[in-house]
C-alpha cells in the first residue's frame, strides 16, 4: 500500500479529525513557542486536517500559508474545513517540494516527518525553502526513547524512521540547520484511568500508558536556517 492510499483511507474514515484532536494536546504547546510574526508564510509538512495552519492564522494573523500532503483525501478534507483565503492546500511530496527557495518563514510538521524515506533530502529541501533565520518546528510522537510507540510500525506498511533525540539533532545539523531547541512535551490531557482498570483494550499496564503520554509525549526539535 502506498503512502497516498494508506492516508487516503485514514482521511476517508475520519482519522484526520481524530489525529487533530489527539495531537492538539501537545501540538498547541509547540505551536505556541514558534516566533511567528503577522504576515509570516507558514508551510505545514504533512498537514493532515490542516489544524496547525488554522490555529496560526487565528493566533498570529499569519500570511499566505501552505498545507502540503501526499494524500489527496487529506488535502481534500483539509480544504473543506476552512474557507480562509490565506490558507492553501496542495498535494506534494516531502522530498520534492514544489515551493520556491527562500519563500517560507517557518515550517511546522507534526507526526509526519518520520514517514520521510530520505530524511536528509527532506531536511535539505526545507532548508532551501526557508528564508535565512526561518525555523523548522518538527514534532513527533514516534521516536526511540518513547518505547511504547515502537509497535506502531507493525500497524502500517510504510517504513517509519525511529530516531532518538540525538539522531534528530545530528540529521538537522548534517542538512545545515542549526538546532536551537530540543524538548519532550508531555501530553497532560489524555485521560489515564486508575490502575485497577488495566489492562484496557489498548494498554497492558498503567505504567506503559504513563510512559507514553506523561513521560515522553511529543519530541520537538527546532531547526533554524542559517
Amino acid at each position: 500500500m502506498s503512502v497516498q492510499e494508506e492516508f487516503d483511507s485514514w482521511a476517508e474514515s475520519g482519522k484526520d479529525r481524530g489525529m487533530e484532536q489527539r495531537h492538539w494536546h501537545t501540538a498547541k504547546h509547540a505551536l505556541a513557542r514558534m516566533p511567528v510574526e503577522p504576515g509570516d508564510r507558514i508551510l505545514d509538512l504533512g498537514t493532515g486536517s490542516g489544524y496547525a495552519l488554522r490555529a496560526l492564522r487565528e493566533t498570529h494573523d499569519t500570511g499566505l500559508s501552505i498545507g502540503l500532503d501526499g494524500s489527496p483525501e487529506m488535502v481534500h478534507n483539509a480544504r473543506a474545513y476552512t474557507d480562509d483565503p490565506l490558507i492553501g492546500f496542495l498535494q506534494g511530496d516531502f522530498h520534492h517540494l514544489p515551493i520556491a527557495s527562500n519563500s517560507i518563514d517557518h515550517v511546522w510538521s507534526m507526526e509526519a516527518f518520520y514517514y520521510a524515506q530520505e530524511p536528509i533530502a527532506v531536511l535539505e529541501e526545507l532548508r532551501r525553502v526557508l528564508r535565512s533565520g526561518g525555523t523548522f518546528y518538527c514534532a513527533v510522537n514516534y521516536f526511540e526513547e518513547s518505547t511504547q510507540t515502537h509497535e506502531w510500525q507493525d500497524r502500517i506498511s510504510i517504513e517509519m524512521l525511529r530516531w532518538d533525540r540525538s539522531q534528530y539533532r545530528e540529521a538537522f545539523e548534517d542538512a545545515g540547520l542549526i538546532v536551537a531547541e530540543q524538548d519532550t512535551i508531555p501530553d497532560e490531557e489524555v485521560d489515564i484511568p486508575p490502575a485497577e482498570e488495566f489492562p484496557t483494550e489498548e494498554w497492558d499496564s498503567r505504567e506503559a500508558m504513563v510512559d507514553r503520554y506523561r513521560r515522553w509525549g511529543t519530541l520537538l526539535t527546532v531547526g533554524v536556517a542559517p
Binding site: L64, L90, G92, D93, I99
Partner: protein, 64 residues
Amino acid sequence: MQEDLLDILCCPLDKHDLELEATERDEEEILTGTLTCTECGEAYPIEDGIPNLLPPDMREESPA
C-alpha cells in the same frame, strides 16, 4: 487555489516557475486548470481547487 500562491509555488522537479492556465474559477480562486513548468514543460493538474504537485511518477491516476 488562490492565484497568489503562484508566487511561492514552483516545479517540484527543477524548481522553475509555473505558468497557470485556469479552466474554471469562482470569485475567490482557481478550481480547475493546469500549472506548467516554464522550464521542463511538465504539466500539473488543479482539480477541485487543489493543485497536484507530486512529481509525475508519484501521481496516482484518480479513479475513473
